[in-house]
């Protein structure tokens, strides 16, 4: 065929070698590639490890008895809760939660003690601001223990008969703002996706615009190398880098933060490869659109923001409004989060993973077509 070149493995390999050599010389970039996952893991790792205590709690109590007083004392003694306020009614409680003044509101209904004695099994309601489940999770986990302590301490003497059989009262926990109640372990897979999105898109975005800015693009275009060879050849080193970053995070998760791995690690790596591919196509497209390196970085950040906000990493996906979910459904990070969380934490297999795999594949193919279409063959 005249005027068009076939793909040549030899020329492609030339580009791969060149990229590796250049990357090897670029110490700063290399340090950044290794530094980002380590830094993020350290920062988020502290958030994973520290168990927050003495969280501000308000109480709405329409019943004042030994039982209720002891319940509140037990809450304080658990060291998770710190009762700072008495509230007149539920509205005041909701408002304080909404404004972030309180993390928990304990609601003891009127006639609670009397109902206990009549074996009517009343409930205490604890409402929690679960926006950040790593903060509230461990406190809420302690509620059962507190309840048991109170039952054993208070229901003595004539009331001892209440101890056997069904619990004399219940505590129901109602997490607000975060019905998913993501656990702290969820952070790790999310972190992986976040680090990969940022580095992959930015690095590849820069890789091509750098050639353009330094004038070396003219040389590449004037030589027989084809767009596909140049683009895919440039991507190879970044696949390696992405896998390296993923490994750093997985190792730290397993051996520093003791995140349990229920699923197949190979499956995690395969998912990571697919996710890297998706991000590289985005980066390559950006590098064709951007006129210079600054624009490439801007585009990468522009892409990064909706990804961290709408993918279910920062806020629980199901808690978002419909339009936000619709955007989130277009982003590969959304599927990667679900996929890796499913594999690592639930031990999901192939059948459970497929609904998250195919959207990433479609995304990759579509964006790759866009990338090839926008790559400039000439200098026009």
């Amino acid at each position: 065929m005249k005027g068009r070149q076939r793909f040549s493995g030899a020329r492609w390999w030339a580009v791969v070698l060149k990229e590796f050599t250049q990357l090897k010389r670029d110490r700063l970039t290399f340090a950044m590639i290794m530094g980002i996952p380590i830094m993020q893991m350290t920062l988020f790792g502290f958030a994973i490890n520290t168990i927050p205590r003495h969280l501000d709690t308000g109480v709405i109590s329409a019943d004042d008895s030994d039982v209720t007083r002891d319940f509140m004392e037990a809450m304080q003694n658990s060291s998770y809760f710190k009762i700072v306020e008495r509230l007149p009614n539920e509205e005041a409680g909701r408002e304080a939660l909404a404004q972030g003044q309180l993390l928990f509101v304990v609601n003891i209904p009127a006639g609670f003690t009397r109902q206990v004695l009549r074996r009517e099994r009343p409930s205490i309601l604890i409402e929690a601001d679960a926006t950040d489940p790593t903060t509230t999770g461990s406190a809420l986990a302690a509620v059962d223990g507190i309840t048991q302590t109170v039952i054993q301490r208070e229901l003595t003497g004539p009331l001892a008969s209440l101890q056997g059989g069904p619990a004399p009262f219940a505590v129901s926990v109602h997490p607000l703002y975060n019905p998913d109640e993501i656990t702290q372990y969820n952070v790790v897979p999310g972190l992986m996706g976040m680090v990969l999105t940022l580095t992959m898109v930015m690095m590849t975005g820069l890789a091509v615009t750098r050639e353009r800015e330094r004038g070396t693009m003219e040389n590449l275009l004037a030589m027989p190398s084809t767009p596909l060879e140049v683009m895919t050849g440039k991507l190879v080193p970044y696949i390696g880098i992405g896998l390296l970053q993923a490994s750093i995070i997985l190792l730290a998760a397993r051996y520093v933060f003791f995140v349990p791995f229920f699923g197949n690690v190979l499956a995690v790596y395969l998912s990571t490869l697919l996710f890297i591919a998706a991000n590289l196509t985005v980066g390559i497209t950006f590098s064709s659109l951007a006129r210079n390196q600054l624009q490439a970085v801007q585009l990468a950040i522009f892409y990064f923001l909706p990804n961290i906000i709408l993918s279910g990493f920062m806020f629980p996906f199901k808690g978002m409004p419909g339009w936000a979910q619709a955007i989130g459904n277009l982003l590969p990070l959304t599927y990667f989060n679900r996929l890796v969380r499913g594999i690592l934490l639930k031990g999901n297999g192939w059948a459970d993973s497929w609904p998250s795999v195919w959207p990433m594949m479609v995304f990759t193919v579509v964006v790759m077509c866009v990338a090839v279409a926008t790559y400039r063959r000439t200098l026009d």
């Binding site: 005249k2 068009r4 030339a14 670029d26 004038g215 003219e218 027989p224 200098l379």
Partner: protein
Amino acid sequence: MTAAAQFDYAIDVEGLNKHFDGKHVVKDVSLRVRKGEIFGFLGPNGSGKTTTIRMMCGLLKPDSGTGTCLGHDIRRESAEIKRSVGYMTQRFSFWEDLTIAENMEFVARIYQLRDRKATVRKSLADLGLTARAHQLAGELSGGWKQRMALAACMLHAPQLLLLDEPTAGVDPRARRDFWDELQALAAKGISVLVSTHYMDEAVRCHKLAYISSGTLLAQGTAQEIIEGQHLNTWAIHGDHLAELQEELRKRDNVAQTVTFGDVLHVSGTNDELLEREIEAAVGRSGRRVERIETSLEDVFIYLMGRSETNSGGNA
């Protein structure tokens, strides 16, 4: 590859036009470069040299116009052109964070040369780069960068070289060596199109073209270009030439005046009237006046001045 044997001209382009954002940058440029010819492409900055060269090697699509490069159609066969032409960009466009050897290796791989290692080694030796082979390209001086760039774009043994201001910012000695090299290549039958600013380089070309504001104003051998403008030139020797130059400029038949050190060149198209006006201006000041051959430089300055007044009048 059969086409390679048939064509007469290494470059044969006709009526090339190019617009950038509505600005007409190259206007109806037609050029012919014979095999084994060194063709000089001259013109002030921004006149469209680089754009024309890029269109010839398939890096830019002309808005209109046709042509061939080594027998390949510049519109449809850019892949063949890229494989068979050596193009040296105006700005150094190799990878500064790679060593000379790594750059050459890369180029050799991209052109899929058979004896890659040997070819690179020989090329480095030929250009005296062996000792610097492991130096980063970014650390080289202008002259060495240019040698490396030439070596790299010659690696696949192209039959046509397109060199865009290869000697800009290079010291005179390196410039001379570079031109000796070009002349040796031309003697081997390789065609060269080279854009330049330097007059001493222009006279070493077999053929020349002068472009200004996108329009080719003259094309041919140095002799043809000089004769084509029908200029007569006189040299006036002496000091304090500035006043005299001022005086002469006002005269109708003086087309241009140029000072070269202590010599003033005065040119015009009507020899008789020019002579009379010079005599009148010089008067009895005792300065030595003689008729000289119009030089290429006089002609180029004349062409540049004329195109400036033309485009100034149109705008």
